[in-house]
Each structure stands twice: as C-alpha cells, then as structure tokens.
C-alpha cells in the first residue's frame, strides 16, 4: 500500500521545482519567449546560495541574493535579445553557456555539499520541531505565496502591459509601453524565480552541483504543459495553479516510473519524450483528422466516378453542364 510518507518527497520536489516552473510560465506563456537561460540561472541560484551558506551567511539571505543573481542573468538575456537583436533562443543559450563558468567560479569547485550546514529547512525544523511534514508545508507555503504574488502582479498595470507584450507587441507599443523594457523585466523576474527555486532545491537535496541545471527548462516546460493542459483556462489564477499542479504531477510520474524499474539515467529522455508528446499532440490530432477526412473524400469520389456522376468520357472541349447535377 502506498503511503503518503512515500510520495510526500515527490510533492516537496514538485513544489520546489514548481517555483522554477512559474518562472518558465512567465517567459514561455506570458512573454511567449522560449528562454533557455533557465538551465544556467537554476544552478546559479544553487551556487550562490550554497557558497553563501558555507561562508556563514543566513540561508534566508542566501536565498534572496540567489534570486537577485538570477534576475541579473535574465536581464542579460533580455538585453541581448532586445538591445542587440540576438534571436531569443540564442540569447538564452549564450547566457546559459556563460553562466556555467560563472557558476564554477562562484562555487570554486564543481560541487558544494550542504549536509552539515544550516538551511532554511533545518532552521525552521529547530524552531518548530513538533510540526509533521514541516518541509512540505514550508515549500507549499512558499510556492502558493509566490503564485499569488505573481497573479497579483500580472493584474497590475505593469503586469497587463507585460502580458500584452507577449500577446500583441504592436498594440501595447501603440498604447505607450516600451516593449523592450517589458521583455527585459519579464525575463529578469522569471529567472529570479528560477534561481530562487535553485537555491531551495540545493538546500533541500543537501548540495549544489554545477551540472544540476541541465534539462531544467524542459522540466519547467513539462510542468507548464501538463498543468495548463489539465487546468484549461484563460485566467492567470488558474494557469499558475496549473503550473504548480503540473510540477507535482511531473515528480509523481517520475516517482512511479522509477518504482516500475526505470533507471534514474533514463529520466531525461522520459521528460523529453513527454514534452515532445504534449507539444506534438495537437498537430498529430489535426493530421489524423485530415487523413480520415481525405479517406472519406476519396471513397466518396470513387463512388461519384463509378456512378458516372463526373469524369465521363466526352468529346474534346465539351464541358459537362449542370443538367447532370
């Protein structure tokens, strides 16, 4: 029998990574910008937080500094894309690539263990030792608060302008909004959340590793696609809720896949296949419908031909008139 204790770890991870997925939601859905910076800012957040914690800084402060570092990374991608006109995908890849070196510099080595260090989780556990599932509750609270703050932000004047920047840039420019500034701000905000999530994950798993960012954006996309596929709505409130739910479902799917004997090394390909399937589904559906329709048309036309309704051999130049209709 599956107990809650068994899957609570997956839910915790889902919530921690869910904050990253909210960042991906901002770029992918709100700005309609495929931002690969995420693979660099996620480990950046972890690297900054871990280095600060090891050097004696409060884990809470470390999380905030990690977030600011992520915002800088996002702003850089935004700058490359808007001011230097580098294609969005490439701008993200360039920042991500550069950040790999930056992350190594920050950490001074490839891996920083946090096992005997204070983290936001150990500090809260000392403060509230009797609360069951404290780690889960802390992550749930953080994820929900961030989700609600994001909802509120996207309903402000700036938030509306940011959404319109992704939806209809000419329109919002004609209403007096600097869409370049909006893109930079949105990428910055998104990567701030991603780095914050990276800082939490490092403390949760007990280490920061320079390679922990690989595939982050795909995990984020999987969460966004699963979540907004389950909770279909135009409303921001529902979409962000869906993203968190999607992130948890993704972790649970991995948990069950591993239990069924999948190797951890196969996780990435499973995630990639999942995202491919989700993205391709609408196209495949349409294709399938079209093929069925053309089969129908073909058989109908074969009947028309056989019945002599059209295509009768006729004198050259003679056009069949409407009497046969």
């Amino acid at each position: 029998m599956l107990s809650f204790a068994l899957i609570s770890g997956s839910i915790e991870q889902g919530l921690a990574y869910g904050i990253m997925a909210l960042g991906v939601f901002i770029t992918y859905r709100v700005l309609q910008f495929a931002d690969l910076t995420v693979d660099g800012t996620f480990p950046l957040g972890a690297a900054v937080a871990a280095s600060l914690i090891v050097s004696g800084t409060s884990p809470f402060v470390a999380c905030l500094v990690a977030m600011l570092a992520g915002m800088l990374g996002g702003a850089l991608t935004g700058f490359l894309h808007t001011k230097l006109r580098i294609a969005g995908l490439l701008a993200g890849i360039l920042t991500m690539t550069g950040l790999y070196s930056v992350n190594l510099r920050i950490m001074g080595r490839a891996n920083i263990p946090l096992l005997r260090q204070p983290t936001v989780f150990t500090i809260l556990e000392e403060l509230l030792p009797k609360v069951p599932y404290l780690q889960l509750l802390v992550l749930l609270l953080l994820a929900v608060v961030i989700k609600l703050l994001l909802d509120a932000f996207l309903a402000t004047d700036i938030g509306l302008a940011m959404r319109a920047t992704g939806d209809s840039p000419e329109m919002i420019r004609s209403l007096g909004v600097d869409t370049e500034a909006m893109t930079i701000a949105g990428l910055s905000l998104a990567n701030g959340l991603v780095a914050f999530s990276g800082a939490l994950v490092a403390q949760y798993q007990g280490f920061a590793d320079v390679g922990m960012g690989i595939g982050t954006v795909v995990v984020g996309l999987a969460s966004v696609i699963i979540g907004t596929g389950i909770i279909r709505s135009h409303a921001v409130f529902h979409s962000t809720l869906g993203v968190l739910v999607g992130a948890i479902i993704y972790r649970l799917a991995i948990f069950f896949a591993l239990r069924m004997g999948l190797e951890p090394t196969d996780l990435r390909i499973m995630t990639a296949v999942l995202v491919i399937a989700a993205l391709a589904l609408p196209t495949v559906k349409t294709r399938w419908r079209e093929r069925r329709l053309s089969r129908l048309v073909a058989s109908e036309n074969a009947r028309l031909l056989a019945e002599g309704y059209v295509g009768q051999k006729e004198e050259a130049g003679c056009v069949r008139d409407s009497q046969s209709a």
């Binding site: 004047d157 509306l160 939806d167 000419e170 329109m171 004609s174 007096g176």
Partner: protein
C-alpha cells in the same frame, strides 16, 4: 495640429529598389481636420503613418505635433498622444486577454504604469460605459477573451481603445480593409461618429476612392513617396471617383486605369 516638413525615408533592402519610401513629404493638418489618404501600393501611405507613429527613425525632416517636435521621440513615448488602429484586427488587440483587460490597458495610455491594480470598480464602470456606446453588447462580455470576438468586433474595440484617452492625433491604416463590406461599413460609421464627436485630428489611409471622398474634410493622394494631390472644400465635394483618377492621369502624364492604381472604386 500636425505639421510635417521635408520628410524622407528610404528602406535599404540588399540592393533591391527602395519601396514605400518617403521622398520629401510636406503636410499640414489643422486641429480637428480629418484627412483621407489614397495612392497606389508602395506609394508611401503606410510608411507616412508609421513615420508619424515612430515605428522607425526617419532619414530627414521634421514632425511637429501641437508645436512639439516629436521627430526623434521613440514610438512608445509619442504613443502618449497618438492613437492608432491597424489593418489587421489581430494587431490592435491582445487576443488572450479579456475585453476589460484590453480596455484597462488603453485607459493608461500616456500615463506611468505602476503596481496599481489594472482593473478597479471605477475603471470597470468607465469601461462598460465606453463599450455600451458601440451597441455590440460587449459591455456584458467584459471577462470574455478578445480572441473569441469577430474581426469586426475586434476592430470596433481597437477603435475604442485608440480613442479612450483622447489622442491629439488618430492614425487609421486601412482599418477596414480586412473586413467584409457590411462590417467595414459599420466600422466606418463608428469611425465617423467617434472622430466627429471628439473632434479628433485624423489621418486615414484607405484603398477605397469612394470612401476617401465620402469621409472627412480633405483627401490627399500619394505617389512615389510624395503628396501629389490635395483636395478639400467645394472642389472635393463635387468630385467623383472618376475625377480622382483623371487628376492622377493629369499629374503624372501617364495612362492609368483603376487597376494599375490598385485602387478599388467601391466602398
């Protein structure tokens, strides 16, 4: 009042002959004047509107709006006093956002946008009132995403959004060209009503010669990046579509047909 002098713009596209460029445009539009602009494809009509709106920097020339030099202002800055409606209804509204969210954004035109809520009880009431005037029932569908509206409804919405905060200048770039004739006529009527009610200074590009003569106070014709004809008053009132074509032939000394101008004579 809009004053334009000696406006030049050339698009350099890898050795291809420049198209749709401006070759010294001089234009003065009086306060409250409604000017219709016609001309063949590539004459520079849309380029002129885009230059005024600041979509790209011009090569030479000056643009004054109410005696303020806006020539070098970025697009989003001058958007504070210029309202625009595009040809493509998809361009003028945000499809994934609701009707009220679209209008809330239009209400903030020219103001600093901060972290205040975009929609309040008061702004909702104002939005409802401005939509009720249209008579399309949109005021009862405030939460409906704009993407679910028809092209005509979206264009009506775009028109309301462009004029919600009274602009010093309204630019209409063939804003009925993508609509069916009946819907186009409704949008034209709406345009007339809003422009005359608010006394807006307006420039409207159109492909319909009939529309160009029927609407507004003055009609100008563009050709190869210049204004080649400007008619207003009684002279314009007596003009027909054929006369316009004749004027074009006289000015250019070439044999042109309605087709070669790529203009439509119907509404």
């Amino acid at each position: 009042m809009l004053e334009i002098a000696n406006l030049h713009k050339t698009f350099v596209v890898g050795g291809v002959a420049p198209r749709g460029a401006l070759a010294g445009v001089d234009l003065k539009v009086l306060p409250g004047e409604f000017v219709t602009i016609i001309g063949s494809n590539g004459a520079g009509k849309s380029t002129l509107l885009n230059a005024i709106a600041g979509v790209f920097p011009v090569d030479r020339g000056i643009i004054l709006l109410d005696n303020e030099d806006i020539t070098l202002q970025p697009e989003h800055k001058r958007a504070a006093y210029i309202g625009r409606v595009f040809q493509n209804p998809l361009q003028g509204t945000a499809a994934s956002m609701t009707i009220e969210e679209n209008l809330a954004m239009a209400m903030r035109r020219g103001q600093r946008r901060g972290l205040k809520r975009g929609l309040t009880a008061r702004s909702r009431k104002q939005i409802k009132e401005s939509l009720a005037v249209l008579g399309l029932g949109l005021e009862d569908r405030l939460q409906c995403p704009v993407g679910l509206l028809s092209g005509g409804q979206r264009q009506a919405l775009a028109l309301v959004m462009a004029t919600l905060v009274r602009p010093r200048l309204l630019l209409l770039d063939e804003h009925t060209a993508a609509l069916d004739p009946t819907t186009a006529e409704q949008i034209i009527l709406l345009t007339q009503r809003i422009v005359s009610q608010e006394g807006l200074t307006t420039l409207m590009v159109t492909h319909s010669l009939d529309q160009a003569l029927r609407l507004g106070d003055r009609t100008i014709m563009m050709h190869e990046g210049q204004i080649v004809l400007s008619v207003s008053g009684p002279e314009r009132a007596q003009m027909g579509v054929e006369d316009l074509l004749e004027e074009f032939r006289k000015l250019r000394g070439v044999q042109v047909t309605d087709d070669s101008l790529l203009l439509t004579t119907s509404a």
